[in-house]
């Protein structure tokens, strides 16, 4: 080699080096690369989510016809209802491959018309044989559905339509109210505006059917919540005082209350009387401070009761509420949520006749109802015994029931058909058909009944049921217009029907006391399994939604399958998780909430007399205690807040000013810790909004979850918990920015810490240097790691990150940019209002987002603090906590 060769070699190397690939703005996601999202191909639909006790008004946004985002419709007049997680993740079941199944007859796949033909033929044969046919359907809250049912029953007397609620939480309450009011009604106390709430185990912040309604009424800051419970629940953790008691002790405590109220109201001490009723003494005495509180708030107390607890406790709760509210008889409707349950008793009578004489029935059609999920013990035993040729199942998914049934027909999701849903106050919400059915071989439950009725009445209407639905509402009001009805509130009844009032009822207290006495269930707890349905997946249709599994369980922060110990019922309630209660969360189709009380932790010694619905022995999973995805977010460090109020000082101490940030335009967030109840809704909303991958159980165990928000539970000295959501703090002196070697993370002029995914090479020094540990790394390409990855469903405004790239909270920059652009177009740049996804989802309005300048002015500066002020990062996420609370630490 000579010098010329050497020069050539050098030149070619340099040329090759410099002609390397530059970072291009490539579209990593496969969401229709030909189109970019703009105002023209984004549509919003007002519709409702068919939640059982009441429909939930929502807005669904579609991009090129496919829904990608579900929002709370706060504008629907005065009805303020929170959207639970399963509702705003519900669009992910649309393309679920488990759902897109063909109908089966004797486990052989067919198409829809054939399956319907065979079913109708079976009905004809039944008619000829003079046998009965039962349809067991989920209660729909739909006037048109009821009308179709009535027409079918009237035209064909051999048909019996049994409407059942998804979870049977009416039973105890109804039994109690029958004793008191002699009527079929359901009562749920209204907690809005009450100063003090005594709660006998109702987990209304998490696992309760009335969760969407009550969570809005609850004000953690101003209400005193005292919870007595036999399991550990989110409501308990958010209580001012929490007492961990056994079920029988809760009843005794309730009676104790009754005695106190009797004493103060009627100058009559019934303690001796009660003691005679119950052999033995009232074991647990109420603490002095609680008694003082009762005397102080006398007329501002409300009592709640777990819907699954025995009717006796409901009776006592109703009595307590009655006695504590002098004017209750005047405005019962205002203070109570009242539902008419005549349909419920009627259905149960029919169900009884079905269970007594099963041989009279030759066909049992389950319409969207799965007793295995609803934990209907009688029906499950019935199904196990019945001949499989008699069973027909129509459901969204292939479930245990359809494995048994001879005919299975898939149903449609609520996106795919029109329906009407009645709110109990007489308001009608319309459920729109947003997309054409994706599974062509599926049928909606309304359409099924429509076809069935036409067949029975021998009507030759080949039209669609939609016209009939429209005509039905025209008959209520001649001016009916569907478009207006969707947009505005549509009422068919001016006022709620007359309901019995307390004034009309003569309370026979001694007789009621006798009723309460008839309880032999309340022996001290032995080995048994209490089964509570979990509201986190609502019903079977959403239990396959991976988003709901990935979302941390609010109490312990578990993800995916988890078995974890829970406090002993007789403990003092200081959250010690090492004794003989276990909670098991099942991941398969039967996802629900178990509370298992065991004599000790050795699995073999447990007798599962109650274990009729569990396919797998949950305690086999005991070994998994050590492999669960539990992230122990509990911390007892009280020094966390020791350096509060340094916000101002830090600004003075700052060495250099970040000159790029325009202080007028800077964005900031305030998270109100006095309000936050730790429900984890924000985590899920963020995940859906920002296309954050669902990583699955294996990765979750390796702590590779991608959530941009994490909620830490901080245990304070007074054994109270506060929930601390941690997200990117968007620091003014961002430590991540100064160390990035390629400038992939940088600061925008309006103070947002931005991330350029295409420029990132994945050195992860930003993650190392972040003291808050909020940055996440993509270990895998989204299509490989993302369970249930459907490119069409992704938010088109947010790119999908490739392998080897770091990501974090962006303050929903897509929304910020959208609003900024709108403001520029309309010349309204001073008042740009942006709502981040977490803010929208927060049921208690704990998150505020806006321009820093105006946001901080409205707040008391003493209440605000930032995390880790000693690092001088000057975060723009402020945490708010009232000064009195801070002093407790």
């Amino acid at each position: 080699m000579n010098r010329r060769d050497f020069a050539k070699w050098i030149t070619t190397t340099i040329l090759a080096g410099t002609s390397c690939k530059r970072p291009e703005i490539t579209i990593e996601n496969k969401v229709k690369p030909s189109h970019s999202p703009n105002f023209e191909n984004i549509f919003s639909y007002k519709t409702c989510f068919p939640y059982f006790p009441f429909p939930l008004p929502i807005i669904i946004e579609t991009y090129e016809g496919i829904p990608f985002r579900i929002k709370n419709n706060f504008n629907s007049d005065d009805i303020k209802i929170n959207i639970p997680p399963f509702a705003f993740a519900s669009n992910y079941i649309l393309f679920d491959k488990h759902r897109l199944k063909k109908p089966t007859i004797e486990r052989k796949e067919t198409n829809l018309p054939e399956a319907l033909n065979i079913l109708l033929n079976k009905i004809k044969i039944a008619k000829e044989k003079d046998k009965k046919i039962a349809i067991i359907a989920t209660r729909q809250n739909s006037i048109y559905f009821d009308k179709l049912c009535d027409e079918i029953e009237n035209s064909a007397p051999f048909f019996e339509i049994i409407q059942l609620p998804i979870f049977d939480y009416y039973k105890s309450n109804l039994e109690a109210n029958k004793e008191i009011f002699n009527d079929d009604i359901f009562l749920q106390p209204n907690i809005a505006g009450k100063k003090m709430i005594f709660n006998f185990g109702q987990d209304f912040l998490h696992n309760d059917p009335f969760n969407p309604l009550l969570i809005q009424q609850f004000d953690k800051r101003n209400q005193i919540l005292i919870t007595f419970e036999n399991i550990i629940s989110l409501t308990g953790l958010n209580s001012t005082f929490r007492f961990s008691l056994s079920e029988s002790d809760i009843l005794r405590i309730a009676l104790d209350f009754l005695a106190i109220i009797f004493e103060s109201k009627f100058n009559f001490n019934p303690t001796i009387y009660l003691n005679n009723l119950f052999l033995g003494n009232l074991s647990n005495k109420l603490p002095e401070e609680v008694l003082n509180l009762i005397k102080f708030y006398k007329n501002d107390i409300v009592f709640l009761c777990n819907p699954y607890s025995p009717p006796q406790l409901h009776m006592i709760t109703t009595l307590l509420n009655y006695l504590c509210n002098e004017d209750l008889s005047k405005d019962l409707n205002f203070k109570y949520w009242i539902s008419d349950l005549h349909w419920y008793t009627r259905s149960y009578e029919k169900l009884k006749s079905l269970l007594i004489n099963p041989s009279d029935y030759c066909l049992i059609i389950f319409l969207d109802y799965n007793p295995y999920f609803s934990l209907n013990k009688e029906l499950i035993e019935f199904v196990e015994k019945t001949d499989t040729t008699k069973l027909v199942n129509l459901s969204l998914y292939n479930n245990e029931l359809s494995d048994k049934a001879s005919i299975f027909i898939p149903l449609q999701t609520y996106f795919e058909f029109w329906a009407d849903r009645e709110f109990p106050d007489g308001t009608i919400f319309f459920q729109q058909k947003i997309i054409e059915p994706i599974n062509k071989n599926s049928i909606s439950n309304l359409n099924f009944l429509f076809i069935l009725r036409n067949e029975l009445l021998k009507k030759n209407t080949k039209g669609k049921y939609f016209n009939e639905l429209n005509d039905l509402y025209l008959s209520f009001s001649s001016k009916f217009n569907l478009k207006d009805a969707i947009n505005n509130r549509f009422k068919i009844r001016e006022s709620t029907p007359e309901k019995p009032l307390f004034a009309n009822v003569k309370l026979n207290l001694p007789k009621l006391m006798e009723q309460i006495k008839l309880t032999d269930n309340f022996t001290p707890e032995t080995s048994k399994i209490l089964i509570y349905p979990s509201q986190s997946s609502y019903s079977g249709e959403y239990s396959k939604n991976v988003y709901l599994f990935e979302n941390p369980e609010p109490i312990f922060g578990n993800r995916w399958s988890a078995l974890y110990p829970i406090t002993n019922s007789t403990n003092d309630g200081n959250f010690e998780f090492n004794s003989d209660f276990l909670v098991y969360q099942n991941t398969d189709y039967l996802k629900r909430f178990f509370s298992i009380s065991l004599p000790n932790l050795i699995a073999k010694e447990v007798d599962f007399s109650y274990n009729y619905t569990i396919n797998r022995n949950p305690l086999k999973q005991l070994n998994q205690v050590f492999t669960t995805t539990k992230q122990n977010h509990f911390t007892s460090d009280t020094k966390l807040f020791s350096q509060l109020n340094q916000v101002e000082q830090n600004i003075q101490r700052q060495l250099y000013q970040n000159t790029y940030i325009n202080k007028d335009l800077q964005w900031a967030m305030i998270i109100d810790l006095d309000r936050c109840i730790g429900c984890n809704h924000c985590i899920l909303a963020c995940q859906i909004e920002n296309n954050i991958p669902v990583v699955g159980m294996e990765y979750a165990q390796k702590i590779r979850t991608m959530n941009w928000i994490e909620i830490i539970r901080v245990k304070l000295n007074n054994s109270k918990l506060i929930f601390l959501p941690i997200l990117c703090q968007h620091c003014d002196n961002a430590p991540c920015e100064s160390v990035c070697p390629v400038g992939a993370t940088s600061h925008s002029a309006d103070g947002i810490n931005e991330m350029t995914y295409n420029q990132c090479i994945g050195s992860r020094i930003c993650m190392a240097n972040c003291p808050y540990k909020v940055r996440k790394f993509n270990f895998e390409n989204p299509e490989k790691v993302h369970l249930n990855y459907i490119p069409e469903m992704m938010n088109p405004f947010v790119t999908i990150r490739s392998r080897g790239v770091t990501e974090k909270c962006t303050f929903c920059i897509q929304r910020v940019n959208l609003e900024n652009t709108k403001a520029k177009l309309f010349g309204n740049e001073d008042n740009v209002v942006v709502k981040t996804a977490c803010q929208e989802a927060c049921p208690v309005n704990a998150i505020k987002f806006g321009r820093k300048k105006s946001l901080l002015v409205n707040e008391n500066q003493d209440d605000l603090f930032v995390l880790l002020p000693e690092f001088n990062t000057l975060p723009n996420v402020f945490y708010k906590m009232s000064k009195n609370e801070q002093k407790i630490f």
């Binding site: 911390t635 991608m706 830490i712 100064s738 090479i761 050195s763 992860r764 993650m767 240097n769």
Partner: protein
């Protein structure tokens, strides 16, 4: 016969480890970092430990050849080429770790200060960019130093001169070296000059590597002590590696007989000195963490007394300080097998010392004060052990090609 047996055993182990490492390397390149033990909390792991460890090992070469050369220590003559060879191989291995450690390694050149036509500007305030510059310049200078040192010996390079490649290699060398007086004159001052430059570089390069940690704001890392601590640790482990290599050479090869026992004894003496310097830094770290009032720093420092790190900490103290004290005794100091044992224990101890420095800081949550346990996977281990195997193989083949003990100086 005996030496050949040892040699072949060593070689077999080296080949197996290298293949194991190659598997891990290819897996990482193809499937990304998912096979590693990293979590979203502990985001740097064994690979960064390996990087720091191998960069550290490379330091002794320069120390012995450059600094001792300038100080006219003639006992270095028999081992300086071994030390330089260690430097070259160590840098080569060390540089691969940050490369595969990137999330998107195919874009590694965005870190280089190339012309900005790609619209990527390396951000010069980032320590990683300094790192690239420091390691690159150290690699280039070390290579030049090693290369120039070989020039007088090029006739002894074992190359098949009948082949075309061999001929061209020979002709390449002969451009530079004819053995004339002019050549020797130029050689002397170039060697001298490079030794002078390298003396600065050897200190700067590991300081800059330590800047990866010390310019962050994390407690315990954010310290002015870190650069000198790193340099001392690096020289210590590098000396141990040189002693290990020369002692093992003595055991497995006839070449080892040419290494003077004086050199090895002096290395052992240096090890004692550096073990005390290092101990001083351990103590001062302890003092800093407890004397200052930063609770975060105390918390992070205390992590090493936690269950999962305590055995590591005890082992580090034992292996890097207590055990090397045996070298005080002349009998032990001159014992070949004890030299191997002590230097191996120092190397393993120094590896764990780096682990203790890097992993606990990242696995701790500063807000909740909880730690997320990090454990290396089989791929992490394959890369670690593979690097050892690769080092041994490279050392063997380079030893085959060039005279590891300089001919012209001894």
């Amino acid at each position: 016969m005996n030496k050949k047996f040892f040699r072949s055993i060593l070689l077999i182990i080296a080949v197996v480890l290298t293949l194991f490492g190659v598997w891990g390397f290819l897996y990482t390149l193809i499937y990304g970092l998912k096979g590693w033990g990293l979590t979203n909390r502990t985001i740097w792991g064994v690979e960064i430990v390996n990087f720091v460890f191998w960069i550290g090992n490379s330091h002794a070469g320069t120390l012995i050849s450059a600094i001792l050369y300038l100080l006219r220590q003639d006992w270095r003559n028999s081992i300086h080429r071994i030390a330089e060879t260690i430097t070259i191989i160590s840098i080569m291995i060390a540089a691969t770790f940050p490369f595969i450690h990137l999330g998107r390694p195919w874009f590694f050149y965005w870190l280089l200060p190339l012309p900005n036509q790609t619209t990527v500007w390396p951000i010069f305030k980032s320590p990683l960019v300094w790192d690239v510059a420091a390691v690159l310049s150290y690699a280039i200078l070390s290579f030049l130093f090693w290369f120039i040192g070989i020039l007088p010996d090029y006739k002894y390079i074992k190359i098949n001169t009948t082949s075309k490649l061999g001929k061209s290699v020979r002709s390449f060398f002969s451009i530079f070296w004819t053995g004339s007086n002019f050549n020797w004159d130029e050689f002397k001052w170039t060697y001298h000059l490079l030794a002078g430059i390298l003396t600065f570089v050897v200190i700067s390069v590991h300081s800059i590597v330590s800047f990866d940690f010390s310019v962050t704001i994390l407690p315990l890392w954010h310290s002015t002590m870190l650069p000198i601590f790193f340099v001392i640790g690096a020289i210590y482990s590098g000396l141990a590696l040189v002693l290990l290599c020369s002692s093992v050479l003595n055991l497995v090869s006839s070449l080892g007989e040419k290494i003077t026992s004086e050199a090895r004894t002096n290395l052992a003496k240096l090890l004692i000195t550096f073990s005390f310097i290092l101990m001083y830094f351990y103590l001062i770290e302890f003092f800093f963490s407890y004397y200052n009032l930063n609770p975060q720093e105390k918390f992070i420092f205390n992590l090493r007394f936690q269950k999962e790190y305590l055995w590591m900490f005890v082992f580090v103290i034992f292996a890097t300080f207590l055990f090397p004290q045996l070298l005080w005794f002349t009998k032990f100091r001159n014992n070949n097998s004890l030299q191997i044992l002590v230097s191996t224990s120092i190397l393993i101890g120094m590896w764990f010392e780096r682990y203790l420095l890097i992993v606990p800081v990242l696995s701790a949550d500063l807000i909740t004060k909880e730690t997320f346990f990090y454990s290396p996977t089989i791929i992490d281990l394959s890369l670690t052990f593979g690097s050892i195997g690769f080092f041994t193989l490279c050392f063997y083949f380079i030893g085959k090609l060039i005279p590891l003990v300089p001919k012209f100086e001894t």
